[in-house]
């Protein structure tokens, strides 16, 4: 008798649960963070909080490895099979928006008024994506190294000039204490190159494409400033300050094990460095004449054009924009919270926190990569040009042919609508 009642009760409960689920419309979401447990846990937490907070929508997530994510989205779009909610790398967003993969977000702009500029994905005057965090790069070193080499500590107000930076590298090399003076992270390929290194070019006065028209790279990627940048870049490798090909293990651990005096690395690696040393300094980018610059914009959330429920997808994204989630991401994987109020809630980014400097760097120096659908191709061309120059190719010829390739691509796409 008891077992029968138990069965009946559990049946009733199951039915009640499934009918509750039936009332919710399922929204699918793709995310790039497969393989990162901490990240997955946070995203899953947001999803279950959201699903429990209202009865209209139920979000389901599918994770992809980051390296395969963009290809998966493109393939999904060609097959007419996109999810409702996408995450998208900031500089790639214009390409997807222009191609009709994404639709503008239905989010009140007032909600994101105090967000860091790099987290807002705006294309054609419309908001397509919004990031819960930003990423920033700094020149990582130790106070003890600077003292030993007799170098001043650069500040946001007074960063190193190009000469001071080169002087620092020369002294680090001359000290003989390090395998290489500078760890640029050449072991990382792909988007790392334009993200991390095009700000140097911009600080020299050049750029990947001409931002006044977005229809050519002539003059900005092969002009005098760019050639000066190229010679400087080649010199880093010719003079033995950095490696053109790097062991990935050295990228992950080289600075923390004392192989390099300086490391050009992002805030996501900062927690590990803080564990390794107690006198770590995160320095602003050097100024090569046109102001110190670092890259802006990281992964962001958006709604796919294929979504039949953009209001639900937008509601989820708006839900995820709460300060507590921003803070959780930051605490979990060291990213820069998108708002100052969320930063105040975090261990590392609150005032006086060990990583607070990244928030200031992001505010003060960050420059988004060219906001054009053509960026996807230009970034690849730029990466190859830098790798070739690092390996000894002629600077002017390499930059000229990079310009030709970018211009040919822009022409082939009817100027990408500009």
């Amino acid at each position: 008798m008891t077992s029968l009642r138990l069965l009946a009760t559990s049946l009733a409960i199951t039915t009640a649960m499934s009918s509750a689920a039936m009332a919710q419309t399922t929204l699918t979401m793709w995310y790039h963070g497969a393989g990162n447990e901490v990240e997955s846990n946070i995203v899953n937490q947001i999803i279950s909080d959201f699903n429990a907070s209202q009865s209209d929508w139920a979000v389901e997530m599918q994770s992809f490895p980051q390296a395969a994510y963009n290809d998966s989205v493109v393939a999904g779009a060609l097959a007419g099979n996109l999810p409702d909610i996408l995450d998208v790398d900031g500089p790639v967003m214009p390409n997807w928006a222009w191609s009709g993969y994404m639709q503008p977000l239905q989010i009140d702009e007032a909600k994101i008024a105090n967000y860091l500029p790099g987290t807002k994905g705006v294309w054609n005057d419309q908001l397509y994506s919004i990031g819960l965090w930003d990423a920033a790069i700094s020149l990582v070193t130790r106070k003890s190294y600077l003292d030993e080499l007799g170098l001043r500590v650069p500040t946001l107000e007074q960063p190193w000039t190009g000469e001071e930076f080169m002087d620092a590298l020369a002294k680090a090399k001359a000290s003989g204490k390090f395998d290489y003076a500078l760890d640029l992270g050449t072991a990382w390929t792909g988007e790392w190159y334009p993200y991390a290194f095009s700000p140097f070019l911009q600080s020299f006065g050049g750029d990947i494409v001409d931002r006044s028209t977005y229809t050519t790279a002539e003059g900005v990627l092969n002009g005098d400033a760019a050639v000066e940048f190229g010679n400087w870049w080649q010199g880093l490798f010719n003079d033995g300050y950095a490696q053109a090909t790097q062991d990935p293990a050295d990228r992950d651990n080289g600075f923390n094990s004392g192989k390099y005096a300086f490391s050009w690395n992002g805030n996501w690696a900062a927690l590990g460095t803080l564990d390794a040393y107690d006198d770590v300094l995160f320095l602003p980018a050097p100024d090569f004449g046109n102001g110190p610059k670092i890259g802006a914009a990281s992964w962001q959330f958006g709604v796919s054009a294929a979504s039949e429920h953009p209001e639900g997808a937008s509601a989820f994204i708006e839900f995820a924009l709460q300060d507590k989630y921003l803070a959780e991401f930051s605490n979990g994987i060291g990213l820069i919270p998108a708002t100052a109020s969320a930063a105040a809630m975090t261990e590392n980014y609150k005032e006086g926190g060990p990583l607070a400097v990244f928030f200031e760097l992001s505010e003060a120096q960050a420059l988004v990569r060219p906001v054009t659908p053509g960026y996807v191709v230009a970034a690849k061309v730029f990466e190859k040009a830098l790798a070739d120059i690092a390996n000894g190719a002629d600077v002017q010829d390499t930059l000229d042919s990079a310009v030709d390739e970018i211009d040919a691509d822009i022409a082939k796409n009817d100027n990408y609508g500009f």
Binding site: D71, V74, A77, L78, N95, W96, W98, S99, G100, Y101, T189, A244, T245, D247, D250, V376, V377, K380, V381, K384, A387, D388, N391, G392, A393, Q396, D397, D400, S401, D404, A408, D409, K412, N413, D414
Partner: protein
């Protein structure tokens, strides 16, 4: 007119049917699309309509030009010399960029140059990277086909013996074939590592540290060789098995006869084994050649075509353009060129290895 194909043979067609249908759907049809797309400006993703552009994709890839330059002379008419004593020539970009007198050279780059007396002749290409990819692929095929085929034959002869535990050796030689090429490439990246790679450590230990550490994949002069060596090692077991099957079709009575005649080991190989392997040899050669032309995964994982384009290959360029740079028409054009290339070489091989009657 009754041929084998038109004669009623329903069982044969039913057996070939599924495979033929799948091949038509996934190989022949896409390839016909590729031929069509190579005459358009099709993009991977774009809201713009596709347009017919004729042969411009082909001329963009295959365009070459010649330019002969005289050395620069100073006011007295003497040749200006570089620091190393070679004559100085005017910069090429003055001719290939925005020069109205040389419209046919616009956008071209130096592929290679030849010095004749004082003047220097530049061979320019519209797409130098593609040209280098073609050259690298041909070098790869020319080295891999004979070396891999020969090595596989030696291994097959070694393991085609009645020895205790011979199956262990067969398994060892065949093992790399079973492992995915991507995994093998990742592992070999560690072996070739410039700092603490296995190969450097090994060479260092063998020469008591006299051998300098080489960044095998990061050095333009060693990168392609490193990939060739690794590719030969990886697939040699596959061809070894084909040779082995060929060896085992040779009748033992021929060997007995040779032994009775008092033939030496070499004579046995030359007059019994090798003639018996003729068809196998044709198969192995053609298969290796076609596989070698398709070189992609090793490049994608290990070098991405670098450093300085020393490991660019045709298929890698096709994928890089079609998918990476979203230029489907460019990728299709490369595929069509590769197809014509491989077809021509296969026909040539068939003609060279034909039955001579």
């Amino acid at each position: 007119m009754a041929s084998k194909f038109t004669r009623s043979n329903s069982t044969g067609w039913m057996m070939a049917g599924p495979a033929a249908a799948l091949m038509a759907l996934f190989i022949v049809l896409p390839f016909i699309f590729a031929i069509g797309l190579s005459f358009t400006n099709q993009r991977l993703i774009s809201p713009n309509p596709t347009q017919f552009v004729g042969l411009s994709n082909y001329s963009q890839l295959l365009g070459v030009g010649l330019l002969t330059l005289e050395p620069e002379r100073d006011d007295a008419g003497a040749i200006v010399r570089e620091a190393d004593g070679s004559p100085a020539y005017p910069a090429l970009r003055g001719y290939t960029r925005n020069n109205e007198d040389y419209p046919q050279l616009d956008g071209m780059r130096e592929w290679f140059s030849v010095s004749l007396g004082d003047s220097r002749t530049y061979v320019l290409a519209r797409d130098v990277v593609f040209m280098k990819a073609v050259v690298n692929t041909v070098i790869f095929v020319l080295v891999v086909a004979p070396v891999q085929g020969g090595l596989a034959l030696v291994l097959a002869l070694l393991i085609n013996q009645r020895l205790r535990g011979i199956n262990v050796f067969r398994a060892i030689y065949f093992m790399p074939v079973v492992v995915s090429i991507v995994v093998v490439s990742l592992l070999w990246r560690f072996i070739y590592d410039g700092q603490s790679g296995l190969l450097n450590n090994l060479l260092g230990a063998l020469t008591f540290g006299a051998f300098p550490r080489i960044d095998w994949l990061g050095n333009p002069s060693t990168a392609l060789g490193a990939i060739i060596a690794m590719s030969i090692w990886q697939a040699v077991g596959f061809h070894m098995v084909i040779w082995l099957s060929g060896l085992q079709t040779i009748s033992p009575s021929l060997y007995e006869a040779a032994a009775i005649e008092g033939a030496s080991k070499w004579q046995t190989f030359r007059y019994v084994t090798w003639p018996g392997l003729r068809n196998t040899a044709v198969l192995v050669l053609i298969v290796i050649t076609m596989q070698a032309f398709a070189l992609f995964a090793q490049i994608d994982v290990m070098t991405s075509g670098g450093p300085l384009d020393s490991t660019q290959t045709i298929v890698f360029q096709a994928v890089e353009r079609g998918y990476g740079k979203q230029d489907i028409s460019g990728g299709s054009t490369i595929s069509v060129i590769l197809f014509v290339f491989v077809l021509a070489i296969s026909l040539l091989q068939r003609w060279l290895t034909r039955e001579k009657k």
